[in-house]
């Protein structure tokens, strides 16, 4: 398909839009499609570029350069520092993530409703929305056999009697296709074309510097083009959907600081590489099995494992682990993720392009990471791994159950590469005094500034968050459509 993008060689832009959507990921694309289909005049601006699927190898270094912010990895300050990744391209994180889908769990929605006093959060409505999203994204399980690295998770968990399941993905598989033949149904394949068909415009390579406020209203956005040219976009309403780091940073730069960016939540993750007797590596895809025996506190799954990423995961004890990279076809990388009780902050600093991000783990979080890595190691042994290489400084090679005692003794989060891909909760929604947005995502104290992305999730969901992000985005967009009329 052709990219539904405004091509402009202009060195200065000036646009008017009824609705400005900032960001084109899971939240922004969904918002744009629904509002455009309801008759609103929608303009989407996206800082990254439109990258056609298939033009870069999934999970490759080139992809990190073109579709991630800061070439792949950014670091949150704290002890330990936590590395995180964000998509920066048309479609946002949906273009680069694992494509795994989890419907927002009913008990989670109920807890959020009570704890954060979210008005009109109706489980039936959310289920209906989820079903609609699943149909739009073609959420499905893989045809035929799963990949070998995925089968490792299933085999190990079954041997230990730990609950595990295949996470569905948003993929279209051709008739007769196998697990490797899927076509990702990311935002550039689904909601962005839908938005375009309904008349929405998409401006890529355009960064929003700040919103200009006048009392309780925002009037226009000051933007910067990739060529450095300035611009201004006037709007009636603005939906900020830049993700959990850049949404609060933009609001703060615009002068909105009340409760914004103070409650960053993530799923901290530790990793290991495991070597098996037989070749199993699949360089351009991730496993679909997840182990939820200890959920929501601890979850296990598979990570991208092309040779460069294997080298990265062995790097913490390269002297002893490095040789395994030559054997990369028999190695795959796995993660243990936790729901953290720690909190982080996002703070826009004048003069710096990117905000400062800090995150602090609690003592319980550190225990969960240790336990998660140890349990994941046991699972690898149960699945038949010859050697397991946990990712932290001076980690032991684990070959048998007794070696895990050494792992537990020597592990410390300060030695580990703790990272995360799930960032959320910096503008939590709800009527609770801690919430920075109301129950439908409108920023407190503002009449026409809305947030509709992962920032709204009140805390870390404990499952792949894209399904939850989209479900809330649809719900809030519908609410908006029900109360505001297009000017036409």
């Amino acid at each position: 398909m052709t990219e539904p993008v405004i091509h402009t060689a202009a060195t200065e832009v000036n646009y008017d839009a009824e609705i400005l959507v900032i960001g084109s990921g899971a939240g922004g694309a969904t918002t744009a499609a629904l509002l455009a289909e309801a008759g609103f005049d929608v303009l989407v601006v996206e800082e990254g570029e439109w990258v056609e699927q298939g033009s870069v190898v999934p999970f490759s270094l080139e992809q990190m350069d073109r579709q991630y912010r800061s070439g792949g990895v950014t670091v949150a300050l704290g002890l330990p520092s936590i590395a995180y990744t964000e998509g920066r391209c048309a479609g946002g994180g949906t273009e680069v993530n694992s494509g795994l889908y989890r419907r927002p769990p009913a008990d989670l929605l109920e807890r959020w409703r009570q704890q954060y006093h979210i008005r009109d959060l109706d489980p039936d409505e959310m289920n209906a929305i989820a079903a609609e999203i699943e149909s739009a994204l073609h959420v499905t399980t893989v045809p035929g056999a799963v990949s070998a690295p995925s089968a490792v998770l299933r085999r190990g968990a079954d041997a230990l009697a730990w609950e595990n399941s295949e996470s569905p993905r948003w993929m279209i598989y051709p008739p007769g296709g196998d697990a490797a033949s899927g076509q990702r149904q990311s935002m550039t394949r689904t909601y962005l074309p839908r938005a375009h068909r309904a008349g929405a415009r998409l401006l890529t390579r355009c960064r929003v510097k700040k919103l200009s406020l006048d009392g309780t209203r925002a009037n226009h956005a000051e933007v910067e083009l990739a060529n450095g040219g300035p611009g201004r976009i006037r709007f009636r309403h603005v939906f900020v959907c830049g993700g959990a780091i850049h949404t609060p940073a933009l609001l703060q730069r615009s002068g909105l600081r009340d409760r914004i960016g103070d409650t960053l939540a993530v799923h901290p993750t530790v990793k290991l590489a495991a070597r098996f007797a037989e070749p199993l590596n699949v360089p351009d895809d991730v496993p679909v099995h997840q182990v939820k025996e200890f959920a929501p506190e601890i979850s296990f799954g598979g990570s991208a494992s092309h040779p460069g990423l294997i080298a990265l995961s062995l790097a913490d004890n390269w002297g002893e682990f490095g040789h395994a990279v030559r054997d990369w076809k028999r190695v795959s990388v796995y993660y243990a993720a936790i729901t953290s009780e720690g909190k982080g902050r996002v703070k826009a600093v004048p003069g710096l392009r990117d905000p400062l991000v800090a995150y602090h783990l609690t003592s319980r979080d550190r225990q969960l990471l240790r336990s998660g890595l140890s349990r994941l190691t046991l699972l690898m042994l149960a699945a038949g791994a010859d050697e397991v290489y946990p990712s932290y400084h001076h980690a032991p090679v684990v070959r048998k159950a007794a070696d895990i005692a050494d792992l537990q003794r020597s592990f410390a989060t300060t030695k580990a590469t703790v990272m995360t891909v799930h960032l959320c909760s910096t503008v939590p929604l709800g009527e609770h005094p801690l919430c920075a947005a109301d129950s439908f995502g409108r920023v407190r104290g503002m009449r026409n500034v809305w947030v509709n992305d992962a920032s709204l999730l009140p805390d870390a969901p404990g499952v792949n968050p894209q399904g939850s992000v989209m479900a809330f985005a649809v719900r809030n967009a519908r609410r908006f459509i029900g109360t505001e009329r297009p000017h036409g």
Binding site: A161, Q367, Q408
Partner: protein, 348 residues
Amino acid sequence: MVDLALPEATVITGGAGWLGRALVHHLAGESGPYRRDGVIRALVLDQREADAVHAVSDRVETVIGSVADSSALARLLADLPADTDVIHTAGVIHPAKTADFFTVNALGAANVAAAVAAAGLRRLVHVSSNSPFGANPSNADTFRANEPYNPYLGYGESKMQGELAVLDHVERGLDAVIVRPPWFYGPLQPPRQTTFFRLVRRGRFPRFGKGDQRRSMVYVDNLVNGIVRAELTPGATGKGYWIADARAYTVNEIIETVGRALADEGYLVTPGAMKLPVIAGRVAERADRLIQRTGRYQQQLHVMGEMAHTIACDISAARVELGYEPEIDLYEGMRRSIQWCRTEGLVL
């Protein structure tokens, strides 16, 4: 699944210990669900211990010696039919010096496994502990049947080595099953457990933080039940099972339930607990660790350090695979313990 038949002979190591005497009471008693015929033989350390075992049942043969001594084990297992089960309960939990942990819990288990294998006996039931697995990483976490080792200090390390030695013999053909009881309680309990009642009665039991840590416990009769189920269930070879009460209790619930049991037994109870910050538990744990490094052992510090943690386990594998069903809950178990203390003339 059909149970294995009762064996012709049963051997109990640590026969004079708390659990050992409870087993003697149930297996060699005059009646009850676990009573069995045939030879019952117990390993004891000295004549005083032999007398203590005979006070429970004079039907039991005693052999004097230590599990650390292979020749004593050869005597213990001499002249027994192949159809003999061995229940290995000997262990030290609060020794004078940490070296004893390894002599008894690690070397002792290795010796017993080797002796049972050499004698070609039917099955070994090895009584382990929660301590090879440490504490749960959070108060909400529960240990599953299969967990990675994470030994808690010297005791945990020695019990882990004991398990590994037994599993090593299983690889070479020994039929052995591991049972893992957490904190157990009940009649015949040692004096430290009497202190526990006394602290609760006076409202002085240490409670760290909110007291929301969870603890699995097991009433001793439930434990005997679990051990016998592990002994007689075919197909359990090489596996380890948590044997505990039906669910874990919070520290608050333990204090409240024991207080209620004491009151219902006619004792005057001062409600409350000694409130301590969680950090105090961490400090005790650190001090315990430092002292143990010097080869010494201090019981109060050890118990304090452990009380700040959640140690909770899931018994569903024992339920499903062994048909284990814990019949006594905390309140009933504690009432029976209190009654036993009273008949023994112990002051609470």
